[in-house]
Symmetry: C7
Subunit: 96 residues, 7 copies
């Protein structure tokens, strides 16, 4: 099974912050961003007259706010759909 | 009888999540997306000065939020009208 | 007497759902769309820098939300004025 | 004395619905549109980068919502200033 | 001393409605427009990518809503700063 | 030390209205504008696709609303950061 | 580990105002801006049809409002993600 997000949408799998070494995202700060891994990227194309450039790729690790994303689950795994421009940043080299 | 959605609108038939094998959309999460099947696609054309590209086609399975759609019923079947860009993603290969 | 809606506006006559065979629009769902017949279409032209294309024509049957329309009455008949892009879809072949 | 509405604004004189034969605008429906006669039309010109086309002319009879207009009085006559695009429709042939 | 309003702003001096012969603006209608005289016009120029055309000139008499303007006083005289497009209309020939 | 406001932002030093001869800005009117002197002007450049023209220069005296500005202090002096287009007008010749 | 903010986003490290000599940002004024140092700048590129110009560079000291930024922490250090155009100004020569 495969998901194809429309236009500028991205599907993320949340990564437990316990898996991360450097990034600490305290659960107690409700406004604090979460970490996710890109599972599917959007189709791109023209939306509202503007060309959408998908700059994220699968497996990118990113920080995002859950309140800007929609949660659902597939095969007992929580996924999030979010607009690319709502993603805050890519996290690189985190496992090294 | 046939429906012709205007511009960027899409008519969906909700698919019971029981029919799906992999995707689990818990009823208890009110914000959780629903699964639907595309029944009719919009006319496309120019709207507010922008060209609308209909990238969905009939029989596509999609995830969408009910609160972004309008519900009505034809022949005792619940249908939803929604703007294409409010649809979250296409679900492919779900029955295999 | 004749009405000429400005720009992208459409005048509809509501059709009682009792007249319809297939479409059932339950009165109890306040958010449910209504069925209407196009009585007058707008002048089209340029509005806010965008060309307006009127794609509806008189006698088209459509679904619309009353809360997106303005109601008034002429000769004891209820009419609705609505922006074309707020109309949800055209209903074709409904009487056959 | 003469008024020159700026850009896309129109000055209307309200017409008592008693003067009208066909159009009945019940006073009890607060959201119901009013009937007015165009007294002065706007200067047109460029506003926010868009060309304004004045398609109404003096003496046109129109339907409009009072809550989209500003009321004032000149020589004991109530007048309304309203943006042209907020006017709902022109009423033609009403006196015949 | 001289004021130079920026871009599309206009400085008005309120005119007492007692000085006016024809226009009656009842004080009791809080939403009713006020009459003002243009004292200074804006610099024009480009704002947010759009060319601003100043069509008002000094000494023009206009109708405006106080709630769309900012009040201050110079030499004990109340003045108002307002965006040109918020001014409702020019009043001509009022003293004749 | 020097501040470089980004894009269309301006840094102002508030001027006590006691220093001014003609302009009286009553403290009791909370919505009344304040007088300020331009200390630093923005970098200009492209923002959201529009060219920003900085028309203010250092030492210009201006009227502005404190609620459209951000206050901070440097060396015990209160400064304000504000978007240029939120500044109401330049005050010229005030000391003469 | 490295962060790559998307499009027009900037990652800041807050600087304690005790480290600064001239700038005093009272903690008691909740609306007062904070001082930060640029740690990572955004990718730039096209967003919503507009070219994004990143004019900040790493190590720039800036003033910003915390309520326009998202806080998180890496290796026990608080960082902030913010849109470049929400940053108020660059502070230069502060240590000299």
């Amino acid at each position: 099974m495969k998901l194809i997000p429309l236009f500028d949408k991205i599907v993320l799998r949340q990564i437990s912050t316990r898996q991360n070494k450097g990034v600490i995202l305290p659960d107690t700060i409700s406004e604090s961003p979460s970490m996710g891994e890109v599972v599917y990227v959007g189709t791109g194309g023209m939306l509202d007259g503007n060309e959408i450039n998908i700059i994220l790729k699968e497996k990118d690790k990113v920080l995002f706010h859950k309140f800007t994303a929609s949660e659902f689950s597939i095969n007992n795994e929580s996924l999030y759909i979010i607009k690319q421009s709502d993603i805050l940043c890519i996290v690189e080299g985190e496992d090294e």
